[in-house]
């Protein structure tokens, strides 16, 4: 174990409940693991209730019902009701696919606090292409219904090279739909986004232009709409403080019950992520190898170990370090102090070359067939 028992362990605050990997959409930047098709089994209703109860008791209060598409779980209203009874502030993170007015009302009655609807682009053609499913019109209707029934409306748009040119129209759409919160999430290159990176990573110029437009809009709608802007860390010279530090704040439970310190942690070798069927949340959080692995600073190598910024960014993201350098103990290569920092420029150059190539290879969509082929 890389961590140490002497570290002061803070309780979880955010729980991400990935109810299922099933999803009618096929977004090529999906955050689910590439090999998700291997993990078919799902926790049952009683397992989830126990997880919610145990995590709440430890102090978790923000709860996201996610997936896959969480609406494919028939017991969602029951879980929402259980969560509300425990005092969670709960969020349904959905593609909107399959969400009817009846269901929106049912979930409201069960105590759901807000709904985050994702839209892939500002036009039907691009949205439906990226989602791999005809869904644009329905998503817009869902956004209206979410508003109509008094939920705060959180619109989420993942930004990448295929839609970054639509930034002005995306912002216009958010205003038109009456979004209270708009999450502009520049793609993070893990999982499916990692294998599609050459096709998704924008150029620095594209990114800077889009950011400028988003910034001006943010000022214009201040007080009416709150914008969460997720920066694309490939164009930063310091890494993000991933997960607010490993095992300090965030707890993800995967559909099969695997407990993860972040939703990508399954990709890291040798972590032996514990399962909620075998252990309580308290045991998992406090005692498991996986959750103690990167707690504190003892696990760090140089240049992180002696870096005066380590308490600010915790050496960046472990999954990104592993994906880009093959070493999960290394500094996140996004950091300009990392000896592997050149891989970032290489990724940027490779994406640019791909954009200029005559026959650009096609996107690999997230579906079970591709998952089995790739794992």
């Amino acid at each position: 174990m890389a961590g140490s028992n002497k570290i002061n362990i803070t309780p979880p605050r955010w729980l991400l409940a990935e109810l299922t990997y099933a999803c009618p959409l096929q977004c090529p930047y999906c955050a689910n693991p590439i090999d998700y098709a291997k993990h078919q089994s799902e926790l049952d209703t009683e397992d989830w209730k126990r997880v919610l109860t145990q995590a709440r008791k430890m102090g978790a209060v923000q709860l996201g019902f996610s997936g896959g598409e969480p609406l494919t779980r028939k017991d969602l209203p029951e879980l929402v009701k259980h969560a509300r009874g425990l005092g969670y502030y709960s969020n349904l993170i959905t593609s909107g696919y399959g969400l009817t007015e009846e269901k929106i009302v049912q979930l409201k009655d069960a105590g759901l606090d807000h709904i985050q609807v994702s839209i892939q682009a500002s036009t039907q053609e691009l949205n439906d292409h990226l989602a791999g499913t005809e869904s644009f019109q329905h998503k817009k209707e869902v956004a209206h219904l979410v508003k109509k029934h008094g939920y705060p409306m959180v619109l989420c748009v993942v930004i990448h090279r295929e839609n970054i040119h639509q930034m002005p129209q995306i912002l216009e759409m958010a205003e038109e739909l009456g979004a209270d919160y708009l999450e502009l999430a520049n793609t993070q290159y893990y999982g499916w986004a990692h294998i599609n990176r050459d096709l998704l990573l924008p150029t620095k110029e594209q990114f800077e232009q889009a950011e400028q437009i988003a910034q001006a809009f943010k000022e214009k709608v201040a007080g009416k709409m709150k914008i969460y802007y997720v920066v694309p860390d490939f164009y930063e010279d310091r890494p993000k403080a991933c997960m607010n530090g490993w095992g300090t704040t965030f707890l993800t439970i995967a559909p099969d019950g695997a407990a993860l310190p972040c939703h990508s942690a399954r990709e890291l070798p040798g972590l032996d992520c514990p399962n909620v069927k075998d252990y309580s949340i308290e045991q998992i959080w406090n005692e498991s190898k996986a959750f103690n692995f990167f707690r504190g600073f003892e696990w760090m190598k140089e240049p992180c170990r002696s870096c005066d910024e380590k308490e600010k960014d915790f050496g960046g993201c472990r999954c990104q370090a592993y994906l880009l350098s093959g070493d999960m103990y290394a500094a996140d290569p996004v950091c300009s102090k990392s000896p592997n920092h050149h891989v970032i420029q290489e990724a940027i150059d490779s994406a640019k070359a791909s954009a200029l190539a005559e026959n650009e290879k096609p996107l690999i969509f997230r579906n079970s067939k591709n998952s089995r082929l790739l794992s």
Binding site: P11, R13, K57, M58, G59, V61, Q62, G87, Y89, N91, D113, H114, Q116, P152, V154, D180, Y181, E183, G223, K226, Y228
Partner: protein
């Protein structure tokens, strides 16, 4: 959209909203609890001065309420 609640694990009142949480100190929580849509600013000030057995809180309370309003924690009728 925002929910104020006591968190036993943290021994604190918190405001919960989409994607966020603000931890409140004791006096901030006491001010917000009185923002129930029925009291005027004057009443809130005098009630709090009574609770804390002190005077001259008007400026501090007004400053805090301006922050709360700007963040959408409260609404102005």
């Amino acid at each position: 959209m925002h929910r104020l609640q006591w968190e036993e694990a943290q021994h604190k009142n918190v405001i919960l909203y989409p994607e966020g949480m603000v931890e409140l100190n004791h006096s901030s929580a006491e001010i917000l609890k009185l923002c129930d849509g029925t009291r005027t600013l004057g009443q809130i000030v005098s009630d709090l001065e009574q609770i804390f057995a002190t005077a001259g809180l008007a400026d501090d309370i007004t400053a805090f309420l301006e922050v709360a309003l700007k963040n959408g924690w409260i609404q102005q009728n």
